[in-house]
């Protein structure tokens, strides 16, 4: 089965069963490793991606359901050489330790800032509360999202 959808702005096709998880399609078929497996149960948030700009757990999302839709992964935010303001803010705050949870958190933060460019600390906490971080970088992550919000409001390109 050939499923066509847009990934990070590019038209892509994946030849796999419709029931294949979006996570497996992204990682094993398209080589996009930034979306990570944590639990497969929608409990940790490591696999968060945007489907039509809404956060979605890629671990349980079936490939067939994204046909014709727009998927954004952490690779779609920016690169090491050209980071998105969110990624840059996370680096500026050194908001992470092992980093395994960060790509999912960056995606949820992106969705938040897209719909609310000036979130309160409570708004950020609410948007990220479905994400787990075992290293305890939470406070830095919250500061980083606040910093990115300021950068983006000041008109830097998203």
């Amino acid at each position: 089965m050939d499923v066509a959808f847009t990934v990070n702005g590019e038209a892509r096709r994946v030849d796999a069963a419709e029931t294949t998880s979006l996570l497996e399609a992204l990682r094993n078929h398209l080589g996009l490793m930034g979306t990570r497996y944590g639990c497969g149960l929608e409990q940790c948030g490591c696999c968060m991606v945007l489907v039509d700009d809404q956060p979605a757990y890629a671990c349980t999302r079936e490939l067939g359901t994204v046909a014709g839709r727009k998927v954004t992964t952490v690779e779609g935010l920016g690169t090491e050489a050209g980071p998105h303001p969110l990624q840059q803010a996370f680096l500026d705050e050194q908001a992470g330790q092992c980093g395994y949870c960060l790509s999912g958190i960056l995606i949820s933060a992106k969705a938040l800032l897209d719909r609310n460019p000036d979130p309160s600390r409570a708004d950020i906490v609410a948007a990220l509360d479905k994400h787990l971080c075992r290293c305890g970088a939470h406070q830095r992550i919250l500061r980083a999202v606040e910093r990115a919000a300021v950068t983006l409001r000041n008109g830097r390109p998203a």
Binding site: L41, C44, C46, E80, Q87, Y100, C101, L102, R134, C135
Partner: protein, 710 residues
């Protein structure tokens, strides 16, 4: 000039074991210098810190230092990355090696330039003569430096006061990749990769009677190889979801004999008391006279999980008789040794390379996954096997942090101060790392002839102890001792988790100290200072009290509380003083944490603060929420709902700082906050409620029960 400023000491253990300079340093043709370390990155920033130390000592730019970490072919054997020792031992080794190589390079350059070495300086890796360029640098003379020589440790490193790179908050070199794409062992997918999952033996001694392979193949719905070796079973497929589906279905289609059965009481620390144990007495002899004013109290911590964000993963390839394993374990040289033992291969036939994984905080499933992958690779040679544990497997089969029961017996003097102190501990072993502890790589127990069981033991007191870690108070007590009951047969496999026994012991000691202060009607901070003579320790207690506004602490029993906890990790690593502010309304909310630490010379202050913060958050989580649940078969808490950890909405505001202490040697910081944080919360809850809760975690049920009893 180059007077040694760090106290003279014998060579670090790593240099004694790996004396050749070329195990540590190599000048590469691309004008970089490769610094090898046996310690590995787990999110704690060690690769960045080691790079800083090398750049500082060699006077080369940081971006010309390439740190090679955890490589059995080229790097030193530094055992496991544990116990907050990496900066001290590996960093200390790199510092001495680089100082020595720098001196050798300058000697060669002086010969070439026909000048005195004193005329030469190093700037950005280039050698200047009286400040002028010479065309000479490390790389032009590298071929003339004999790095096969052994380190002597006699070249004095730079004085601390001259440091330009060490002591700076350099951003982590590995973080950018982790925020933008492939970065972990999990992310390596060669074209010929085969995905693998396992069916786990329920317990040592259980035997696989039957396996309905046809049913499993139907569930897998795709190309599947089933690898069986005695009681080890793996499912292998080019399609990851096929291997996963097979493994998920497999338990329903497997019949085991000799399955062990547990009882619910075994999940509680209280069960440990009275079990067969290996008993040791450490410290002062038993008191000769009967106690005059004996106070006794018992505290406990249950089994807790490492709960790494990623299930363990490893890559193994067996090609041309050589096994290459890539793993996120904490020590590649020990892993290589253990794999050789488990697989019956000569050690020279195995290479182990570290790749990054999610934070593990101790001995989780990483090494076990490496053996799983290797077993499959030997059966399917010529392919890259990518073995990943399932989430439920990680929770269900990783070694857990041991439950502990701690009873303090303290005899007080006429002023209500401790005159004689006994810490009595019941705990399973804290280290079952294969090689340095008593355990085995998990799948070796599933082989036809498992390695014979070995009686458990704990790390020695010289290594900081296990259950006895931080069991002696830092306070002035005329006589103190430990009675250690090492419980021989716990219901679950236990091993190292951040801090080992430090958290329960510091929780117990610091709780009792608060209670002793209350007995004589004294303020907990003032009481501590009255029995704490060490200047570095007093400074932290005073400072954290100042930061938290301790003097305005209100009355007890209002539902809001402020509590303090203090310890020096292992009684010889970093000091941390913590104050917690809590609100208790059925559950405990930690509102704020103040932490002041003394870690001597800090290589990367922001990185080290990140470690303090991480330790605090993890300790809040352990103290308030975490307990491994057991059922009839073993560990029952196998997902994030049955094993909840602290969330964003529960994170306290934190204010952490290091006191200036760069004149003292670097002290490991990774684990120093966990005990003081737990204790500060316990004391804050006591202040909020007027009731002491002795058993962790401080759940709603425990609070209600304590209030009813009060």
């Amino acid at each position: 000039m180059n007077a040694p400023v760090l106290p003279a000491s014998p060579l670090p253990a790593s240099l004694i074991e790996n004396p050749r300079l070329d195990r540590w340093i190599k000048f590469q043709p691309d004008r970089t210098v490769r610094i090898a370390t046996g310690k590995v990155e787990m999110g704690q920033g060690i690769v960045t810190a080691i790079g800083q130390i090398a750049a500082e000592e060699l006077d080369v730019p940081l971006d010309r230092v390439a740190v090679l970490s955890g490589d059995t072919t080229h790097g030193p054997d530094e055992l496991y990355t544990t116990s907050s020792l990496s900066v001290d031992v590996s960093g200390g080794s790199v510092r001495l090696v680089c100082a020595e190589v720098r001196a050798k390079a300058l000697d060669r350059a002086a010969l070439r330039l026909n000048c005195s070495r004193d005329e030469l300086t190093v700037v950005d890796g280039c050698f200047l003569q009286n400040g002028a360029a010479t065309g000479q640098d490390y790389w032009t003379v590298a071929a003339e430096i004999d790095l096969t020589q052994n380190v002597t440790g006699t070249t004095p490193p730079k004085p601390v006061a001259s440091y330009k790179v060490v002591g700076q908050s350099i951003p982590r070199v590995d973080l950018p990749a982790k925020m933008s794409g492939a970065a972990f062992v999990h992310d390596v997918l060669p074209a010929d990769v085969l995905h693998a999952r396992t069916l786990r033996q329920p317990n040592r001694g259980a035997t696989l009677v039957s396996l309905d392979e046809a049913a499993i193949r139907r569930a897998a719905k795709g190309e599947l190889q089933i690898v069986r070796e005695a009681n080890f079973v793996a499912f292998v497929s080019p399609v990851e979801s096929v291997a996963q589906a097979a493994a998920v279905a497999a338990p329903r289609h497997a019949t085991w004999n000799n399955v062990r059965h547990l009882v619910p009481e075994q999940q509680e620390a209280a069960w440990l008391k009275g079990q067969p144990s290996d008993d040791r007495h450490i410290g002062a002899p038993p008191p000769v006279s009967p106690p005059k004013n004996l106070v006794q109290a018992t505290f406990s911590r249950p089994y807790i999980a490492h709960a790494s964000m990623a299930p363990s993963c490893a890559l193994a390839e067996f090609r041309g008789g050589h096994l290459t394993v890539r793993s996120h374990g904490q020590g590649m040289h020990p892993l290589r040794q253990n794999l050789a033992g488990a697989l019956g291969l000569p050690i020279d036939a195995i290479t182990c390379q570290h790749l990054h994984g999610a934070g593990c905080y101790g001995h989780n499933g990483a090494d076990d996954a490496a053996l799983d992958a290797a077993l499959i690779a030997l059966r399917i040679p010529g392919k890259c096997i990518r073995l990943q544990w399932r989430r439920e497997e990680e929770f269900g089969f990783e070694p857990v942090g041991p439950a502990m029961l701690v009873t303090l017996h303290v005899d007080l003097d006429a002023k209500g101060r401790p005159a004689d102190w006994t810490t009595e501990i019941w705990s399973p072993t804290h280290v079952q790392r294969p090689g340095s502890g008593t355990g085995f790589l998990l799948a070796s127990e599933a082989m036809a002839t498992p390695p014979p069981e070995v009686a458990p033991f704990d790390p020695t007191e010289q290594r900081g102890g296990g259950g006895t870690r931080n069991a002696l108070p830092i306070y002035d007590v005329p006589a103190h001792r430990i009675v250690h009951h090492l419980v021989m047969r716990p219901p679950v496999r236990t091993s190292a988790l951040r801090g080992l026994g430090a958290l329960p012991n510091v929780y117990a000691i610091e709780s009792l100290i608060d209670d002793l202060a209350a007995r004589v009607g004294e303020d907990p901070v003032a009481y501590r200072l009255s029995i704490l003579s060490e200047a570095r320790a007093r400074r932290l207690v005073e400072l954290v009290a100042e930061r938290a506004g301790w003097t305005s602490r209100g009355a007890a029993g209002t539902g809001k509380g402020l509590g303090i906890g203090f310890a020096r990790y292992k009684n010889r690593a970093a000091y941390a003083a913590v104050i917690a502010a809590v609100t208790v309304q059925e559950t405990v909310k930690v509102d704020r944490i103040w932490c002041v630490a003394d870690a001597g010379l800090v290589v990367n202050p922001d990185g080290a603060r990140n470690q303090l913060e991480g330790g605090i958050v993890q300790a809040v989580s352990w103290t308030l929420k975490e307990q491994v649940r057991l059922d009839d078969q073993g560990i029952a808490s196998r997902d994030w709902e049955s094993y909840p950890i602290l969330r964003f909405s529960e994170i306290p505001d934190m204010q952490v700082e290091f006191v200036e202490a760069a004149g003292n040697p670097a002290l490991g910081v990774g684990e120093c906050t966990v005990g003081p944080t737990a204790a500060a919360i316990g004391n804050a809850v006591n202040h909020a409620l007027g009731v002491r809760i002795h058993d962790m975690p401080l759940t709603r049920e425990r609070i209600m029960a304590a209030l009813l009893k009060a």
